[in-house]
């Protein structure tokens, strides 16, 4: 790897890690959400550097552009910017540190104990990330998982609409009692 590439990947990796740390340490929910957005966008840049612009832009559109916008919307609407100092789940900090240590130990052990160096991945064809290739794969080889995902999302949408549905007033203009509504 050339020095320029190493420099670029380390700069991107540094931003990813720092924004991740910022996400879990900031006590303001808005800042935490913004750190997560920065994280998503930087990971998208990594995808572009790896030659997969389609997944990069899909990541920006879906995660940074839609999901995080809704997160921000809810945080602002509820006025829940300030996170509580006391943690609702006791002991999660200790557990988190333990798991992080275990993960680091696994990584170190993997590097130390692996026998031969891992085989370099097969060279992929240059058009592996074109929209045509991805579309063909999604609609031919992975059609069933694709349709099942769509079904799950549709069920979630229907559920959300049902839960926010307001009881319709009857002809006299009075709201029906809730138990009657649920019997129907």
């Amino acid at each position: 790897m050339s020095l320029g590439l190493i420099f670029m990947y380390s700069a991107l990796a540094l931003v990813v890690v720092v924004s991740g740390i910022g996400l879990i340490t900031s006590r303001n929910a808005i800042y935490a959400a913004l750190f997560l957005v920065l994280n998503f966008v930087t990971v998208a840049l990594l995808y572009i550097a790896l030659g997969a612009p389609f997944i990069a832009l899909a990541q920006v559109t879906v995660y940074a552009g839609s999901i995080m916008v809704l997160f921000l919307f809810v945080i602002m609407l509820l006025g829940a910017e300030q996170l509580p100092i006391a943690e609702p789940l006791r002991g999660q900090r200790v557990l988190g540190i333990l798991l992080a240590v275990a993960f680091l130990a696994e990584m170190v052990l993997f590097v130390l104990l692996r026998g031969a160096p891992t085989v370099a991945g097969q060279a992929v064809s240059p058009d592996f990330s074109t929209p045509t290739t991805i579309g063909m794969l999604l609609f031919e080889r992975y059609l069933l998982p694709f349709e099942m995902t769509a079904g799950v999302l549709l069920a979630a949408t229907v559920g959300a609409i049902f839960m926010t549905r307001q009881p319709r007033p009857d002809r006299k203009g009075a709201l029906p009692a809730i138990p009657e509504e649920s019997k129907e």
């Binding site: 808005i30 920006v60 940074a64 916008v69 921000l72 602002m76």
Partner: protein, 343 residues
Amino acid sequence: MITAAMVWEWVIKSVIICLAMTIGFAYVTLYERKVLARIQVRVGPNRAGPWGALQPLADAVKLIFKEELTPATADKKIFFIAPIITVLPMLVITAVIPWGESVTIGGKTFNLYLTDSNIATLYLMAVTSISVYGITLAGWSSNNKYALMGGLRSTAQMVSYELALGLSFVGPIMLASSMSILDIVHAQSKIWYIFFQPAGFLLFFVASLAEVNRAPFDMPEAEQELTAGYHAEYSGMKFALFFMAEYGKMIAVSMIGSSLFLGGFLSPVGFLSNIPVIGFLFGNGPHWLLLKVAAWLFVMIWIRATWPRIRYDRLMALGWKIMFPLGLLNVVITAIVIVLVGG
């Protein structure tokens, strides 16, 4: 292989695009004021320079020398960064729009576009979806009820209309069977997609008005109810950046719409291009894109001068209950017709 000459070409093209958007913004403000004035039987700005042509410069000088205020209870960091986040997407979004084919200067051929990517339309979607952050954060960081309301409204509005906007892209993509804007423009050399995709065009037009917060969807900055909405607390150059983003986005959506539905830089009277001397005026080229953008902007300004703002719940109902299903229906019908005709 990437050579230094290619990098310089990219840098120069990027600078040209950013400058064109900035100058375009300055003159679209003048264009809007002039057109609004004419529609309301006024004269409009006519003091600075001939026909008021230096008015944008005068405005810029005024805004630079205005005092900038930061509210005492504002979140200083985000308050400072929000205008910048708002302007950046508008400067980069037109990177994938071709201005023309290519020109030959001094024996070297230059393409008249920064990049022709096979994911160009996805890039447009990604940048549009990011562009809501600046407005939302500006509203929140001002620590002002009205500004927060404006920010929240714009978030809800842009998330809702992004769906219809994305679905309106699908028609041209399917017809051209490519996501590259250059391919989509070339596929329209016989007939513009506005004739194949009238519903898609309408969806795009309405959704783009909502996406750039223009009348009749300018709820986030409704003066009567929210003072000035998300930028109520901003002054001086920071306010100018919001202004710039709004007008720059108008230019951007006009360019995107012209390229997707109106043939982009293609000339509608290309058969006249064999006339000597003035023939190039009738050939394909950036001047046709400019003309289409000017016409598109005129319609946007015309709508602002004519229509009242629609109510907020109506806006949401329109987005979710009419435009979104219509977009889905348009995609399905287009797909069926393409399969039947064998396009």
